[in-house]
Structure formats: structure tokens, C-alpha cells
């Protein structure tokens, strides 16, 4: 093998194993800056005191000054927090066919919902359709619901859902590779000895329920806008002519200017949206790969002129491209 290829493969293969907790890192940066300010203040205060003493008491006092200086107390390390990519947080559905061996055996066929949530209530929930016992048709119907915790590390998802059932109590957790592609989620088994969980989670495809098309028909079309540069790198890097395709299937597709530099933003990708109220659009995810959060905009179409008004959005680049200039239909 050529040395160049082997080096690239080795670095890119090893990269996912090097963990960097972004939220802890950001807290760490702010804590460092606070410490640095405190140290600077202490140093300035100490220097002022020394100068004052020296001015008042004269040179003899220098010998009496010790060199010990106490550092400000270290701050508590930020609490460990599992960071789940926004692109994963949603509700997915799948229909388990009656041909699924182990799931048929335990009457787990039919439509299932998979909900991944974050925050204080971070959990993975599997909710089945209303089920009727096959062995006892007179028994009341029931909705099977299973809840467990989950963690995401890069492309791996580990969960202990179903660990409290007799099917999985011997193998409390399983690890899967997750992959989002368009409106679907694929979970591929990496390691899971529980056959029921394996069969249920690895069903294909889990469809993102939130991505159902609700695009107002009058909005569908292609729009263009031209952005001017500005003072910050975010705005400067976005300057040029942008195209926006609003498709009836609920996707927004951006075409960046030819001068667009991907490095500061990540790749431009499709964006999905849903209407959350009259004249209002909620961006579920997307635009550039570095925009991972949600955004909400109001929209107004007057003739061929489409304007987006910012309601809230954590992503500065998306804010600029969406709402700083009107878009004209082509």
C-alpha cells in the first residue's frame, strides 16, 4: 500500500475514538477565561499594593514581601453530559411485518414508534400499536411501551431499552451504529445479544415522523438572493448569490455561491421544515453541517418576493442566509 493512503486511513479511522465533549469543552473555555481574568485582577491588585507599599515604606520593605501567591480556587469541573446530535432527536415509525420470526413469536409485530428525547428526560421509548393477544382474543387490548436510557458516542448508540423484560434481562444493553439519511434512520447492530431488541431496533427503515410533507403549496419553487459581505467571518464567508429550492416533499435545498468556502461551515446540505403555525416555519435541522439546532422563522410571500423573519435560531449562518435579504422567485 502507498504510504499516503495508509496514513489517511489510519488518521481517519482513529479519529472517532478520540473523544472531545463539546459542551464540557465550551464550559472549560469560559472557566479558563474567568480564571485568567481573576489572575490578571489579582496580579494588578498585588502590583498596586506593592507599588503603594514601596512608595510609602521605602526600599526596605521589599525584603519582607514573600513570593507566595495563592491561585484562585479551581472551579468545579462541569458535569458530564451526553451530547446527542440534534439530527437524531425525533420520533420515528416502522411497521414490523408478520414475517419477523422472533417478533411474531412474542406478538410484537405491527406499527412501532421510536422516540429519542434529550435533556432531563433523555430516554429512548418504543411504543407499539394497540395489540390484541393472539392466544386469548377475549383479553383486553394493550399498547406495549418500553422505555430505557441511551447514549450516543459518534456514530454509536447504546441503549438499555427492554432490559427490564424477560427477553433482555440477561443482556441489558446493546450497541448500534446509527445513520440518518433523508427522512430515515437506520440502526445497524454492532453488539447486542438480546434477540428481541436486535430484531426490533434493526428494522428498516425507521421513518422520521416529523418530516411529513406540510409545505404550503404556494411556497414551492426556486428562489434566489444575493448576500453582501460584512464585518464578521460568518457573514463574509456567505457573500454571493444563493439559490433555494423549496420542494413539495418538505425539503429546502440550498445552492451556495461558487465562492463558498466549506471550511468554516461544513457542507451545505438539505434542510427539512414543517409549518408550525400560519406563516411560520420551523427548521428541523440542516443548511450546513455545522448548524445542528432548531430554528423558527416567519415567512411572507408577496408576489415573487419571499421574506423570512427570524423568530429564533441558534445558528448564525442560517440566520444570515435566511433572513437578511428577501428571496426572489425565479
Amino acid at each position: 500500500m502507498l504510504i499516503d493512503r495508509r496514513l489517511r486511513q489510519a488518521f481517519h479511522g482513529a479519529a472517532p475514538a478520540v473523544k472531545a465533549h463539546v459542551w464540557n469543552g465550551l464550559s472549560g473555555v469560559h472557566a479558563r477565561r474567568r480564571r485568567r481574568r481573576q489572575i490578571q485582577l489579582v496580579a494588578i491588585a498585588a502590583a498596586a499594593i506593592v507599588i503603594a507599599i514601596a512608595a510609602i515604606a521605602g526600599p526596605d520593605v521589599w525584603e519582607a514581601i514573600g513570593t507566595d501567591r495563592q491561585h484562585p480556587p479551581a472551579e468545579e469541573p462541569p458535569a458530564e453530559r451526553s451530547h446527542v446530535p440534534q439530527s437524531l432527536l425525533s420520533i420515528y415509525t416502522v411497521t414490523v411485518p408478520a414475517t419477523s420470526g422472533v417478533l411474531l413469536k412474542y406478538q410484537l409485530i405491527g406499527r412501532w414508534k421510536l422516540r429519542l428525547s434529550q435533556g432531563d428526560d433523555q430516554n429512548l421509548r418504543l411504543i407499539g400499536d394497540e395489540h390484541q393477544s393472539v392466544s386469548d382474543p377475549n383479553a383486553p387490548t394493550f399498547i406495549p411501551t418500553f422505555e430505557g436510557s441511551y447514549e450516543v458516542s459518534g456514530s454509536r448508540l447504546t441503549t438499555d431499552v427492554l432490559a427490564d423484560t424477560s427477553w433482555c434481562k440477561e443482556d441489558p444493553s446493546g450497541t448500534y451504529l446509527w445513520r440518518r439519511s433523508g427522512s430515515t434512520l437506520e440502526l445497524t447492530v454492532l453488539e447486542d445479544s438480546c434477540a428481541v431488541r436486535r430484531a426490533l431496533l434493526a428494522q428498516k427503515p425507521w421513518r422520521d415522523r416529523a418530516l411529513t410533507s406540510v409545505v404550503p403549496p404556494q411556497l414551492v419553487g426556486t428562489y434566489r438572493t444575493t448576500l453582501e459581505g460584512g464585518r464578521s467571518f460568518v457573514r463574509n464567508g456567505l457573500r454571493g448569490r444563493w439559490s433555494l429550492h423549496l420542494r413539495p416533499d418538505g425539503r429546502l435545498i440550498f445552492e451556495p455561491p461558487s465562492s463558498f468556502e466549506f471550511r468554516n461551515y461544513g457542507r451545505v446540505n438539505d434542510m427539512s421544515f414543517r409549518r408550525v403555525g400560519p406563516g411560520r416555519i420551523e427548521i428541523i435541522r440542516g443548511f450546513v453541517t455545522h448548524c445542528t439546532g432548531f430554528g423558527t422563522y416567519g415567512w411572507r410571500l408577496q408576489g415573487s418576493r419571499l421574506t423570512f423573519e427570524l423568530v429564533e435560531d441558534d445558528c448564525p449562518a442560517r440566520r444570515i442566509v435566511f433572513s437578511s435579504q428577501p428571496w426572489l422567485r425565479t
Binding site: R5, R6, A14, V22, G25, R32, H290
Partner: protein
């Protein structure tokens, strides 16, 4: 109350908006670049905890200078230059400590990776090591690599060619004269 800033009269609410916007942009830039910078530093120094420390220090400096750096075309190049120089200083400091003559111990999580390559890279001189990581892992052009290393582009190519040659020898791989 109005404040005079750079030739414009600015209301306090506008100042607050600007500060909020700057904070947002910094957080956004941080979340986009922090992992990549940490990994790059890790591949140079081979110490995961220290790599996070160095990356956080570099971003702390960026935060201090954010008002200025955010106006640059390429703040990502700036943060790499700072982080890589700190990483190289760290490697030089550690080299003079006799305890560091020991074999490189990689974290457990990396044991499935191509450990031979990572260990071979760790044996390279600092500049060569940084050049290899920036070129093969970050896919940065040589102009940027040279800028981060504080040398000319031609010197950057020399570091990279020497590193390739040594790595090819250590790993028993083929090497062509052109970098792929």
C-alpha cells in the same frame, strides 16, 4: 445613553445585541471546530487529556481575541495555528524530560485503529509530525500548513517529504515521489 464607538453613536441595546451575536458566533464556531482541533492536537501529542487542555487554551485565546479574529476570512486557520504551536511547544518540553523516552501508550479506544502508524508518527520530529497530521488528517493545503508551522511553503513541503520517507521506512510501505 449613547456611546461613541469607532465613529458611530451606538445605543446600549445595540451593544447588547452585538455582544450576544458575537457570543452566538463564537459558540457556533466552537461547536463546529472543537472536536477537529482536539483530534489534530491529539495526533501530534498522543495524550487525550492534554489535547483537550491545549484545545481549550487555544479557544480561550480565541475568545479573548474574538472581536478581531471573527472578522478574518479564516478563523479556522487562526485557531489551528495557535493550537498547533501550543502542541509543538508541549512536545518539545516533554522531549527534554527523560521519562518521555518511553514507548508511546495510546488510549484503549484507539487500540482498534492502525496503532503502528500512530506510533510511527509519534517518533517523528515535531514539525514533521504536525505537517503529517495537518496534511493527511485535516487535508489542509500546504500554504495553511506552513502558516500554522511558522515556516515557508517550501520548508513545509520539505518537512512533509522527510516525514513520508521516514514513515515509509518504519512501516515498510511504498512511496512515490509525488504526494498523493
Amino acid at each position: 445613553m449613547m456611546r461613541f464607538t469607532g465613529g458611530h453613536l451606538t445605543r446600549p441595546s445595540e451593544l447588547g445585541d452585538r455582544r450576544k451575536r458575537a457570543e452566538d458566533e463564537f459558540s457556533w464556531f466552537f461547536s463546529a471546530e472543537y472536536e477537529a482541533v482536539t483530534r489534530t492536537v491529539f495526533f501530534i501529542i498522543h495524550d487525550a487529556q492534554r489535547a483537550e487542555d491545549i484545545a481549550q487554551d487555544a479557544f480561550m485565546q480565541l475568545l479573548v481575541h474574538w472581536k478581531k479574529v471573527s472578522k478574518y476570512e479564516r478563523p479556522d486557520a487562526w485557531i489551528r495555528r495557535v493550537a498547533i504551536r501550543q502542541a509543538m511547544r508541549h512536545v518539545r518540553r516533554e522531549r527534554i524530560r527523560p521519562t518521555l523516552e518511553r514507548e508511546v501508550v495510546l488510549p484503549r479506544a484507539l487500540q482498534t485503529a492502525d496503532v503502528d502508524v500512530l506510533k510511527a508518527v509519534a517518533k517523528l520530529p515535531t514539525m514533521q509530525r504536525a505537517a503529517v497530521v495537518l496534511f493527511y488528517f485535516e487535508d489542509r493545503p500546504m500554504e495553511e500548513i506552513a502558516d500554522a508551522l511558522g515556516c515557508s511553503t517550501s520548508t513545509g513541503w520539505v518537512h512533509l517529504h522527510r516525514a513520508r520517507k521516514r514513515l515509509a521506512e518504519m512501516l515498510g510501505e511504498e512511496m512515490t515521489s509525488n504526494v498523493d
